[in-house]
């Protein structure tokens, strides 16, 4: 059953994308995530604080599809932050090390992505996304199977600062995949609980900063219902409201919008004059 996205995701803030249910399980416990959508096409979980989690399945195509699917469910809602969490192999990092991706390389085609490094205090690494598990670790990098697909999709949905990838080292040349047991995933992710909590908090703060800067003033919506605008005038009005807001001139915007005008054209003219007067003063 699919619930109304507007109700389910009303408080959306951070979306987590994981490949495997074994990765989802400790995260569900960590953030008290409850089932929102059943298994088809992708299981989705959410908590009351606006953290959602989707289980994509293995591989970059699955990761991209799940990311797009969750974005579609939230299409009518404000932008939120995205985080791909998962396990990865590494050439030399110790098992259990948490790594924030600073560069993602799609091994299949050489495409590179560079998640902006605004989140401080975490060890970072290049993540190479491969189609089959990497057993030789040829480069100084983490090897996963989803990051490139996730990032290619997420960077079309949200500004790249709000899309990040966090990997936990599960295997390396001394502890290879052949000795790896899926049951170890829970411990690996739980071992990064404090880093994950801090990472989500930092992402949330960044999101709040973004939303504050780009939230359209309620005056805009109110004026749309009070006057008739052409499509061009509507764009002009939104742009003017954004400029008032960006310059910290919301009181001046409220004052002008409270005045009665005969036409939308007069209103727009007065807003332009008011802005010019404020900026020039």
């Amino acid at each position: 059953m699919q619930l109304s996205s507007a109700n389910v995701f009303a408080a959306n803030r951070i979306n987590l994308v994981v490949a495997h249910s074994a990765e989802a399980k400790p995260l569900r416990a960590m953030f008290n995530l409850r089932t929102q959508l059943l298994s088809r096409p992708f299981p989705v979980y959410q908590n009351a604080e606006g953290i959602s989690l989707i289980v994509s399945g293995i591989g970059k195509t699955s990761a991209a599809a799940a990311t797009a699917y969750l974005a579609g469910l939230q299409a009518s809602l404000p932008a939120c932050a995205w985080l791909n969490i998962g396990i990865a192999g590494h050439q030399h990092a110790a098992i259990g090390t948490g790594l924030l991706a600073h560069k993602i390389i799609d091994a299949a085609n050489g495409d590179s992505f560079y998640p902006p490094q605004l989140l401080q205090g975490l060890q970072t690494a290049t993540v190479i996304t491969v189609a089959v598990p990497e057993k030789n670790y040829p480069q100084d990098a983490a090897y996963d199977m989803e990051a490139a697909g996730f990032y290619a999709c997420a960077s079309r949905i949200v500004t790249t600062e709000l899309a990040q990838v966090f990997k936990i080292v599960s295997d390396n040349p001394r502890h290879t995949l052949t000795s790896f047991d899926i049951a170890q995933v829970q411990g690996l992710i739980e071992g990064q609980q404090s880093a994950l909590t801090r990472l989500l908090g930092d992402l949330d703060a960044l999101l709040a900063s973004y939303r504050k800067a780009y939230t359209v003033s309620p005056v805009f919506e109110a004026l749309l219902t009070s006057y008739r605008f052409t499509a061009t005038q509507r764009v002009q009005l939104q742009r003017l409201c954004e400029r008032f807001h960006a310059l910290g001139l919301d009181p001046a915007l409220f004052k002008i919008s409270d005045q009665p005008f005969s036409t939308s054209k007069q209103l727009l003219l007065q807003l332009e004059l008011g802005l010019a007067a404020q900026v020039g003063s």
Binding site: K103, P116, Q120, T159, S209
Partner: protein, 158 residues
């Protein structure tokens, strides 16, 4: 001065100037890229968010080292030129056109000073009258001095 990260074009990674710059900066992630545009010119970047913690990009410029200053630039009575060894500014002045010039707030520093120097020397040699060379068109050329050592290289040329 601390950056959120330092991106380095592969072709300049081994230059002594790049190594010297790295030695002058606090330890942050150092990330290689093929061309600076991969990072700087990407779509879906947010200038305001990046301005909270800009990164430094060390790159090489290939052409247009010295260009004529635009008409009405304030130096109309004599020949005037500008050169951009750096893109973006460490400051955040409300009035400045650099607030919206680029999609990224990261700083690009072109480290092939010698190419700029050669182009400047050529221009200086052909200018027979007092000439203005402007260095801060796409940046504040002095603001990053502790890292770039811009003055140390360029001032002796004049």
């Amino acid at each position: 001065m601390k950056f959120s990260a330092i991106y380095i074009e592969e072709q300049v990674a081994d230059l002594p100037r790049v190594q010297a710059i790295l030695a002058r900066t606090a330890p942050v992630p150092v990330i290689t890229c093929e061309r600076y545009g991969e990072v700087f010119n990407r779509k879906a970047q947010n200038f305001r968010l990046q301005k909270q913690a800009p990164a430094l990009i060390l790159a090489s410029k290939f052409s247009n080292f010295v260009l004529p200053a635009p008409p009405g630039y304030g130096f109309n009575s004599q020949p005037s030129f500008y050169f951009s060894h750096m893109l973006n500014c460490v400051y955040d002045c409300r009035y400045c056109f650099l607030q919206g010039m680029y999609s990224s707030a990261n700083y690009v520093l072109f480290v092939n000073y010698e190419n700029f120097g050669a182009a400047l020397a050529k221009k200086l040699a052909t200018c027979g009258e007092p000439t203005v060379f402007y260095s801060g068109y796409d940046c504040d050329s002095l603001a990053l001095e502790p890292i770039s050592r811009f003055c140390e290289y360029y001032l002796p040329m004049f």
